[in-house]
């Protein structure tokens, strides 16, 4: 598939915000650890801003954004439609939480709703890709697990960074706990990514030229795709990158998303340098954009069988 930057930004930014809100909701409702001024002036505005940014980003992949409201219609069958319903509900709930924390109030029901809606949004986002059964790279529960764990990881690094920025919020325990949990999350996320890559390498395409045109001959090749100047089919479903670019990107993903942030957090843990969490977040985020780009590029669409040779 041709990676689409609006979807790269949407899935990474919304995922990070969902992760952040999950931790805010847990820390506030279960441990009562976060001050309302931290929530009102920093944490909730940042989560809200990220969700709005991701919502705006998602509009850029629509041909007719002015008709986007129609997308809530087919929630019975379409995961995209369900996502279109859950996202505004989630944003509204975050606004409510923000409003009440500004009033110095905190309601368990709202924090609970935030946790549930964050998970529902992860399910919807992942299912949009996972439910297409013939894109074999996506049609597996690992798609959801990867979205979930990377959201929880980037969200945790952002959570730690916001606590560092709001120096009043720092408590001694955070200096150890935040990098330590970050390392654990990054390790889990790395294991999942390596599992996905291993699975993708071993995938045997169910469709081939024989089934695509229904001719059983073992020697078969296309001599013309029927057009010369490109079409929607050649633009939307091919990433047009060389294997060298993809291999290098995989290295950037491996180091940017996982290994460098782990090293930085180990350093943060050893030297009690809390500010390093913020550096880890920046490196992780850059890597995350590449990871999501690669998520699309790695998906092989069976329609590509029909578009192999111009003439």
């Amino acid at each position: 598939m041709q990676p689409n930057f609006s979807l790269v930004f949407f899935t990474t930014l919304a995922g990070m915000s969902q992760g952040l809100l999950f931790y805010i909701a847990i820390f506030k409702s279960q441990f009562n650890l976060l001050s309302n001024s931290f929530l009102t002036n920093l944490a909730l505005p940042v989560s809200f801003g990220l969700l709005i940014a991701s919502l705006l980003a998602s509009f850029f992949h629509l041909g007719h954004p002015e008709r986007a409201w129609r997308a809530a219609h087919m929630w019975r069958t379409s995961w995209l439609s369900r996502e279109v319903i859950v996202l505004p509900l989630f944003i509204t709930t975050v606004m409510l939480a923000w409003y009440f924390s500004a009033q110095d109030k905190s309601f368990l029901i709202i924090w609970l709703a935030i946790v549930i809606l964050a998970f529902l949004l992860w399910i919807c986002t992942a299912q949009i890709y996972q439910c297409i059964k013939f894109i074999q790279e996506w049609a597996h529960p690992l798609t959801f697990i990867n979205f979930l764990v990377l959201g929880l990881t980037s969200g945790w690094l952002l959570f730690g960074s916001l606590i560092w920025l709001w120096s009043d919020a720092i408590e001694d325990a955070y200096v150890k706990i935040i990098p330590a949990i970050g390392i654990v999350l990054l390790f889990i996320a790395l294991t999942i990514k390596l599992t996905i890559w291993k699975r993708n390498r071993g995938l045997k395409p169910k469709s081939n030229l024989n089934s695509a045109i229904g001719i059983p001959n073992t020697r078969i090749r296309q001599t013309s795709m029927g057009l010369m100047g490109g079409s929607f089919n050649t633009r939307e479903f091919f990433h047009n990158q060389t294997n060298l670019v993809l291999d290098n990107l995989r290295k950037i993903i491996l180091f940017g998303v996982y290994l460098f942030p782990i090293l930085i957090l180990v350093y943060a843990l050893q030297s009690s340098t809390f500010s390093a969490v913020f550096i880890a977040l920046i490196v992780h985020l850059i890597g995350l954009m590449c990871e999501r780009w690669m998520f699309f590029a790695e998906a092989n669409h069976p329609q590509n069988l029909y578009y192999q040779r111009i003439s």
């Binding site: 129609r70 997308a71 100047g229 490109g230």
Partner: protein
Amino acid sequence: MKTNKQLALVIDLNVCVGCHACVTSCKEWNTQGSAGPLTDLHAYGENPTGTFFNRVQTYETGSFPNTETIHFPKSCLHCEDPPCVPVCPTGASYKRAEDGIVLVDYDKCIGCKYCSWACPYGARELDEERQVMTKCTLCVDRIYSETLPISERKPACVLACPTNARLFGDVHDPESEASKAIAERGGYALMPEWETIPANHYLPRSITEIIAAVKDEN
């Protein structure tokens, strides 16, 4: 399900000569019909590109001297279980109950392209200028026309084909020309592995064997 009408095309790979008459007649009719316009970009530039509902591709099989050139027309297969329809968030993509044609309501389409991702055949093309998803309509505005002569109430591609490689009819009616061709000549569906149950069928090539047998006899 089989009791409903299911209109479809049956394409005979024995006689398709790859002339692209179906492609151009399709574009001609549909760009000015209810599905149009099918816009072209850079029509006189280096890389002209545009929207088509039908493409003719060419494949080669075998190794010398037993080679074959196969011209392969490809358009929406009007699947009986179309994966493109349930994913549409707005309901713009739908399958008609009365005749099984899969259509797009261009006024509801938001251009999210999700249906094209959900079609394993690449049958849908986003119109770059109109920014809505387009696809073969089986010339729904021809086949039910009340002003055209009855003999012309068929998809434009079927009428244009000089070798009669395209049959049109109800594949749920065992008496139709299309159903008989499928039954008698081993008509098959594309990518059966995804269980989309395409309504369009292709008639397998047997012409090379027939010619060889005739040559042997003489």
